[in-house]
């Protein structure tokens, strides 16, 4: 795995933890421990996603910041083989 793939892998791990906590919190909305973990992973995810957008390109269209080229359409798309 190159550095780009490692950072993406880290974001996917944070997102997985957040998804699990999100579903758990839907049926346990007053669980303070799960809420604390959600906020903790959310902060980590935000920092990692900002680094990714800065170095390699946007994960969502609002993260594009190039003034010369619309980087959103640049390869790779997620379904393509590495």
């Amino acid at each position: 795995m190159n550095e780009r793939q490692m950072l993406m892998s880290k974001i996917k791990k944070y997102d997985f933890a957040l998804k699990e906590l999100n579903l758990y919190l839907d049926t346990h909305p007053d669980c303070r421990r799960a809420l604390a973990m959600f906020n903790q992973y959310n902060a980590l995810r935000k920092t990692a996603a900002e680094e990714y957008a800065r170095k390699y390109g946007p994960i969502t269209p609002d993260e594009t910041n190039d003034t010369q080229h619309w980087t959103w359409i640049d390869a790779p798309w997620p379904w393509e083989r590495r």
Binding site: K12, K19, D26, T27, P58, W79
Partner: protein, 204 residues
């Protein structure tokens, strides 16, 4: 509304094309217990749900199922990329190829096109949550069968991830059903739709 994130929920990197396997796995895209019917089931059911926990859960699981549609489609795309015509003929993929080339189109393993008849939106929280729990188990069984038919570790890995998600969703839907039953009036012993039958079948 929704926003697309340019990444898969879990990585799919398949080195060896295998059209025969694609013919089987496509059923989790367009088949009766597939991810597309799961997503549409939950996202359609959620509107009339009486409890916030159930509205949230159907929205969030329905959204995750869309990510699973994308994962299955990525598996199909990678399994059918760079096939030769001889491989297509030998694998039996020719019956799909003639209509769709290697485009991704939602059909069951039998070739039957996707239909909304695969799911229900009954407007009754108890009925819908029972269907949802059954749907997660049916999808889990389908993934078990795919794992029985598949040796490639590159394919088994994301399929095993998707199988595990069915189990987690089943657990959460079970909790939603418990929350629903806790909310029912003590007089609603026969579990009538809490939105409609305030008197549980009795005339005022």
């Amino acid at each position: 509304m929704w926003q697309y994130e340019k990444k898969l929920e879990y990585p799919v990197n398949i080195k060896t094309p295998n059209a025969k396997l694609a013919k089987v796995i496509i059923t989790q895209l367009g088949g009766p217990d597939g991810e597309l019917s799961a997503s549409l089931r939950y996202l359609n059911q959620r509107y009339v749900m009486p409890y916030p926990e159930v509205k949230g859960l159907l929205t969030d699981i329905g959204t995750e199922e869309l990510a699973h549609v994308e994962m299955i489609s990525a598996i199909l795309y990678q399994l059918t990329k760079d096939l030769t015509i001889d491989e297509i003929k030998a694998s039996g993929f020719d019956t799909y190829f003639v209509d769709h080339t290697t485009g991704i189109y939602p059909v069951a393993a039998s070739g039957t096109p996707f239909t909304a008849a695969y799911f229900q939106s009954k407007g009754d929280v108890i009925t819908d949550l029972h269907e949802d729990m059954a749907a997660e188990q049916k999808a889990r069984t389908t993934y078990d069968n795919i794992l029985r038919l598949c040796d490639d570790p590159d394919v088994r890995d994301p399929i095993r991830f998707l199988r595990q998600r069915e189990i987690v969703h089943y657990q959460r839907f079970g909790e939603a059903l418990r929350i629903t039953q806790d909310n029912l009036d003590a007089k609603n012993f026969y579990a009538c739709n809490p939105v409609y039958d305030k008197n549980c079948g009795r005339r005022r």
